[in-house]
Amino acid sequence: MFKLLRQSFMLLLVLTMITGALYPLAATGLAQLVFPHQANGSLIVRDGKPVGSSLIGQSFTDPKYFWGRPSATSPNPYNAASSSGSNQGPTNPALADAVKQRIDALRAVDPANTAPVPVDLVTASASGLDPQISPAAAQYQVARVARLRHLSLAQVQSLVRRYTQGRQLGILGEPRVNVLQLNLALDAPAGQ
């Protein structure tokens, strides 16, 4: 029993050093060497300063921006320091109420648009930080953004296309539009 205990202790110590120290350090070294941009958070840099991550969404409520997925993080939406989904069950009345409010908010800033609302635009994402919306959700907002920014539909459409990714390797995942990158491009002075 005592011998087993000593062996347990020593092996735990040795394997802890290998898997808990050597392994993450080696992994970090390799990652920083081969993929430094990704390993450090895929930051978007403007004028030498980070202005966000292309992987982490931000909150947009101004109608001249494209809006992203509703976010259930607290205390504010898209709080990246505390990721969270809503965890509302499908039959929870609070879910239907929240969806109704989100639809009303979308309709209020664009009364002319009576199309059905794409589902991802009115349901909270799993992480609360979803950087993307579906192409359908982007199309739903193109006319509004173009009108409020006095741009032609074609100009906005071409920006949307630029920040749309298809299925990865043609097969995996779903087509999607990066909302932060799209909005940064809308704000950028013409010609950039």
Partner: protein
Amino acid sequence: MTTNDYFQIGLYLVVLLLLVKPLGSYMAAVFSDTPNRVTRIGAGSERLIYRLCGIRADEDMGWKRYALAMLLFNVLGVLVVYALQRLQLWLPLNPQHFGAVSPDSSINTAISFATNTNWQGYGGESTMSYLTQMLGLAVQNFLSAATGIAVLIAVIRGFSRRSAKGLGNFWVDLTRSTLYLLLPLSLVLTLLLVSQGVVQNFKPYLSVPVVQASTVSEPVLDAAGNPEKDAAGNAVMKPVQVSTQTLPMGPAASQIAIKQLGTNGGGFFNVNSAHPFENPTPLSNFLEMLSILLIPAALCYTFGAMVGDPRQGWSLLAVMLVIFIPLLLICTAAEQAGNPLLTHLGVDQHASAMQAGGNMEGKETRFGIVNSTIWATATTAASNGSVNAMHDSFTPIGGLIPMGLMQLGEVVFGGVGSGLYGMFAFAVVAVFIAGLMVGRTPEYLGKKIEAFEMKMASLAVLIPCALALIGTAIAVMSATGVEGIANPGAHGFSEMLYAVSSASNNNGSAFAGLSANTPFWNVLLGVCMFLARFPLAIAMLAMAGALAAKRHVPESAGTLPTHTPLFVTLLVCVVIVVGALTFLPADALGPIAEQLMSAHSISLGH
């Protein structure tokens, strides 16, 4: 379901099955009793480790000694993880200066990671220092997985050895699992994940300006730090401008790789693999999903190879697939159909080239429906428990599938090692039932199954069932248990049933609305996780010890072959009947009741 749904499911299964034989035969070489090409590569480092630890690699342990070594090693692991959490404030690598974790949460998390459950009552990015994540949690990700594999290999030796006293050496099996299997696979996966955008650094969290500032209401605090109340007793709120976003950082990729490969499931961040820094692209998602089932599936082949009859391994893999695939299709169809209660609000849930459609609450855009349901089904079939979507927000039927898969005892793939030795218990029950039908002493793999083996197999089958039902009953009867519920009605009961089913089968996923970081839930679930892991493993080791001592019975005309479609069907039936008889009444009060009520309210036009 859309054509693309079928296509992505098909691709996933094909790639998984193609990897079974290569990895399975590699593992058979790693755990072989005789030195070979594979074990010679690491022989030097192995010898060094054994010398440092005073281990004699050629010591053949009987089942009791093997079980004791396993238990001591894991209890020590629990203590280390507990201590790290309690002391992290005073230890290095804590750039966010997180305080000590509460005692009940610490012991819950320590048991959770040492039992390969990885139930998480805390939010990673707001609780754990980098040191705790690395030296505590990630280490247990490796060692609990290696423990599961070691016990499985010992149990397989029980079948393959004849008139033998020992089951092998726990230290050697543990070390080899870690060095030859888990470490190299994890290192490769880490780099693949980083290439997709998973973070891997030791930097403090990064504050960036946001494009559109917003305001939130925060409670006003008085001098003592307590919220101020107005005359009516309501908290006084003040608007606070939010003009920055804090991006979490850390050595995430290295931990996520082993969390997926070792059927652990404990996320670096609160929302696990739904977090864009933990699972940024569809490709990272595919690799992480593949890693969930990779080792459990390949171990089936290892088993066949080690008992000298690969057909035995394929037949158990077939049993798993026969249960897994239909459940995956049902889950996907239910989620793709969407939430009927949203349709009349004017929401477009149809799948098209422009959107995934379906029930998108609690799902990420890049994964859509099918990648969320493959994950949910795989992570609960295996006892992984990581998530890339919030199971709590699944449709009633969509949520019943992950819950049901856990309740089947985590033997459909199951945990690395533990899933397959759990399946052996069901296989022994199946040959026993077949033996009763024809009035012959049952045999499995040339070993007679007698009273002692049946007792141990029954224990292994019944322990998780009993824990899940009794634990849920305790929670339902306790006011502090019910307080944790987030959703009203039948769904609230589902949250509790899911939590206890998850802990009692060492899965670790959750209907995460449940506020489980309370002393009541931390203790209840901690007890369930511990009892589901170690007594069950010891029962299987006892069975293996008894089997190893037996002589080999040559096959006769009366032997039930265990590699045929007939046996596969029988075993599928045994697994499903045990699970359904045990849990159907409880499930009827949760997801099934919710589905009926949802259909009812639609038919009334509400």
